[in-house]
């Protein structure tokens, strides 16, 4: 008898007889990452059943109860602060694998962002590529055609490689992560349209990669992430199942250790050549209307996908693991059940439709196998070569613990204000400042990504003179062929402000995303958050997390914006160094007509340059202070009422076509804002800062706070614009024209420099990094 047909003998784990220290050892030796109370709960449960669990059962429990799948530290607070945020155009918010929001009468956009930090820290290329693959499948499993990708990346300081350490250097991580995203996104033909890149010593040993995806679908084609039809069959389509990515989610439930040999098995590798036809095949079967429920296989593998698919629909399933196509021989049933191999989807269909599904799969050369049947009752049953290896109540399996962890409010030292000495002139300073890693152009990364494939990118991430562009505030895509309605997309976080104060830093990040959206002429529509934090068992970190989630709730309630999806990544720490609290804010906006957007750079000479919004007199958290190597902390709040008024006024002015160009004042303050607006068409500016305030000149040049936007307005429309902005601080500070950037304060020249000098430095800032 060959091994394949031989009856399997289930492996029993004698958990009932173990004492506390043995339970702990068992969790370690099996790679479960469950703590002692959780192990005790398992022990009690199986004692109640009067039997010992099998290895498959123990592994399945560990998957379902992991931080990644169970949100055990975060669920309480996500529910408290974000669950009431809905609007009448929200179709599905934080229910299924991705958020679904109304796009127009007939269509919806499907949106999701996810982190892939732990795998990328170990194997950057594979980790980043599978991050992209995973988020695409989250959108795909809702029945939507993916149309755009985004990525927010956070790296350590660029001098990290010069320091001795066991961790990978920033340059190596950056090259691996960026090429992973490039290779996956470009190969499957989905454009990577927007993102952000930040450098901070807090990410030295823990890079973050947050990948986002947007898809579009007919509202009637949306497929839910549950199945309720008893008798349906479960089909796995796509890649084969292998040993790659075993215990990935458990890995994400603890901190990274350099000596950790088990890391090697936690990394999944992507295969975009399977993902591409899989997308076509899934869209085709979705349109045929034969799919009753669908889920992608990501963290937790089959174990979490099948469990959640059935539990959410109030049914159960009988699974036969030997039916699965495997990458390698001799895999144990528990390995098959928890494998996180990529490019796999599980679909529930009626048995009678299998032939139709098979025809589509065959025509795209996509492999599939029938995994099992949907049954009545609560108990999930799994068989392997004739032996029952799992028989568990889904209610217990999915009833992972929810922790109200001990937390303390983050300490903020708000009395440590630094104002650096003024310089005589800022010409040379500006050249080195604008070419620093944090400030310089992201062209070297953006150009590696195909951002125009699918021919729907209306405002690309780089705009202006061809081959010498500036950055856009937000990217605009036109997802439907026969409609001019567009989606604006922007993502990022204000890292330096978050480090100072998680609550207000999150507010500033949201304000920046909001302003990025309105600057491009669109209306903010929905928010997606990817929350990256350190170890939640540390009360201070837990406090950071709670404050940040509270800020998202407060902001979105004020602006009536729904938080439709997101993810939480905790335990981002290694060797005692923790990351900056990083809630990546991904905002989608609606553009009524994509032929009517606002550019982010000066359009012509002779226009008025004006600043909208209250002044900021605070240099703390600015790139300027950081660039000078100074430490400064404060508690700067965001005036939400003002931002709301600015949003409405900008909307009016844009509708009347009065705004020639607009750019938000963010990293680098007004100085960087003027420079970036000049770069687009190389139109200079002549600015006098004295109308702003009586503060010091360097504060006016480089402070980043407030809700400020810089706008370009034609001279003859200034009167009308002033009327529209009558309830907001609105100060004309100069004129566009020439080929120099000259800035003065109280008639003293601070800067007078040729645009090309700063621009060349800005463009080549990353040359030595990637």
């Amino acid at each position: 008898m060959s091994r394949k047909t031989e009856k399997y003998i289930a492996r029993e784990i004698p958990i009932r007889e173990l004492n506390l220290s043995d339970l702990e050892k068992l969790s370690d030796s099996m790679g479960l990452a469950l703590n002692i109370e959780e192990m005790r709960r398992l022990q009690e449960y199986f004692a109640g059943l009067g039997r010992n669990p099998t290895d498959v059962e123990i592994q399945a429990m560990a998957q379902a109860w992991s931080e990644h799948c169970g949100y055990k530290s975060s669920r309480l607070y996500l529910k408290r602060y974000l669950s009431d945020l809905r609007t009448d155009y929200t179709i599905l918010a934080m229910e299924d694998d991705a958020g679904v929001v109304e796009f127009d009468e007939e269509n919806a956009y499907v949106i999701k962002m996810e982190s892939h930090n732990h795998p990328s820290a170990v194997e950057p290329y594979g980790g980043a590529a599978t991050g992209i693959g995973g988020v695409i499948r989250d959108v795909l499993c809702m029945g939507a055609q993916p149309v755009a990708l985004l990525d927010s990346l956070y790296f350590g300081n660029t001098d990290y490689e010069d320091r001795k350490g066991k961790h990978l250097s920033t340059r190596f991580l950056m090259n691996g992560i960026v090429s992973g995203i490039r290779d996956y996104g470009n190969r499957i033909g989905i454009p990577t349209v927007a993102g952000s890149v930040d450098f901070h010593p807090g990410y030295d040993t823990n890079p973050l990669i947050n990948a986002g995806c947007v898809g579009i679908a007919k509202k009637s084609d949306i497929i839910r992430s549950f199945v309720s039809k008893v008798g349906d069959i479960l089909v796995i389509a796509g890649g084969r199942t292998g040993r790659d990515g075993l215990h990935g989610v458990n890995f994400a439930s603890r901190s990274i250790n350099t000596e950790d040999k088990s890391n090697t098995r936690s990394v999944q590798l992507g295969n975009p050549i399977i993902a591409e036809p899989l997308i076509h095949a899934i869209i085709e079967v979705t349109k045929m209307g034969i799919v009753d429920g669908m889920k992608d296989l990501g963290g937790g593998g089959l174990s979490s996908a099948v469990g959640e698919l059935c539990f959410a629909g109030g049914v159960s399933a009988e699974i036969h693991l030997e039916n699965l196509k495997l990458k390698e021989e001799g895999m144990e049933p528990w390995e098959i059940w928890v494998s996180e191999s990529q490019e796999r989807m599980v679909l529930a269909i009626e048995p009678g439709n299998l032939d139709r599904l098979a025809r589509v799969m065959d025509s795209w050369d996509v492999e599939y196998s029938v995994l099992g049947t949907v049954t009545e009752g609560n108990n999930l049953k799994i068989f392997f070569r004739g032996t029952k290896v799992l028989d568990l109540d889904l209610r217990f399996l999915t009833s992972g613990p929810v922790y109200a962890r001990h937390y303390i409010e983050p300490k903020i030292d708000d009395n440590h204000i630094v104002v650096p000495a003024e310089l005589k002139d800022y010409n040379d300073f500006m050249i080195s400042f604008m070419s620093s890693p944090q400030m310089c152009s992201r062209q070297r990364i953006i150009r590696l990504y195909d951002f125009t494939v699918r021919a729907s990118t209306v405002v690309p991430p780089l705009t202006g003179l061809i081959n010498s562009e500036t950055h856009s505030d937000s990217t605009i895509i036109k997802p439907l062929r026969d409609s001019n309605r567009g989606l604006s997309l922007t993502t990022g976080a204000m890292v330096k402000h978050l480090q100072m104060d998680p609550y207000n830093g999150t507010m500033i990040s949201l304000s920046e995303a909001y302003r990025n959206t309105i600057c491009s002429g669109s209306k903010p529509h929905s928010v997606i958050d990817s929350l990256n934090f350190g170890n939640p068992e540390d009360p201070e970190i837990m406090g950071q997390f709670i404050e940040s989630v509270r800020a998202i709730g407060d902001f979105c309630r004020k602006f009536n914006l729904p938080v439709v999806s997101g993810n939480v990544s905790l335990y981002n720490e290694s060797e005692g160094s923790e990351i900056v609290p990083t809630p990546t804010i991904f905002m989608a906006g609606i553009v009524e007509d994509v032929s009517n957007t606002i550019p982010s750079y000066f359009q012509s000479g002779g226009s008025i340059i004006a600043i909208v919004g209250k002044d900021s007199m605070d240099l703390c958290g600015s790139e300027y202070v950081d660039f000078l190597g100074k430490k400064c902390t404060s508690r700067e709040t965001v005036d939400l009422d003002e931002l709301n008024r600015i949003g409405m006024a900008m909307g009016h002015a844009a509708k009347e076509g009065l705004i020639k160009s607009a750019h938000d004042v963010a990293q680098g303050g007004i100085a960087a804002c003027i420079a970036e607006m000049s770069f687009g068409l190389e139109i200079g500016a002549n600015v006098e800062l004295s109308p702003l305030s009586w503060g010091k000149s360097n504060v006016k040049l480089f402070s980043e706070g407030g809700n400020r936007i810089m706008v370009e307005i034609a001279k003859d429309s200034l009167k009308r614009v002033r009327e529209i902005f009558s309830e907001i601080d609105f100060k004309a500070i100069g004129e566009t024209g020439g080929s120099r950037i000259s800035i003065s304060d109280r008639s003293l020249t601070l800067m007078d420099i040729d645009i090309s000098k700063i621009k060349n430095a800005w463009i080549s800032g990353m040359d030595n990094l990637i």
């Binding site: 170990v122 194997e123 594979g126 890649g239 084969r240 292998g242 040993r243 790659d244 890391n263 090697t264 990394v267 590798l269 295969n271 975009p272 050549i273 399977i274 990458k327 390698e328």
Partner: protein, 83 residues
């Protein structure tokens, strides 16, 4: 001078899309007997005689630069043995 060969391949279970697609296409071309294709990389490195432990040098440089031990393994042998 000693010539050393370093052979690098994926760990078992790591999928190589390139190899899978070559295998698929060989079958399309009619080579029905092909069961499996594996792609490996072979480096030939010359080390001067002053190095008493050329294998150790090779091992060090393989770990430092050539192989990504998370997904690959390497094999070191004297080239003469290979040829």
């Amino acid at each position: 001078m000693v010539r050393i060969g370093i052979e690098i391949e994926y760990l078992p279970g790591v999928e190589d899309p390139e190899a899978i697609n070559i295998e698929k296409n060989l079958k399309v071309l009619g080579f029905k007997t092909v069961d499996r294709v594996t792609i490996k990389k072979f480096y030939e490195i010359e080390v001067s005689d002053s190095d008493r432990t050329p294998e150790k040098t090779a091992q060090k440089l393989a770990e430092k630069l050539l192989a990504n031990k998370i997904i690959q393994k390497y094999n070191i042998r004297k080239v003469d043995q290979v040829r």
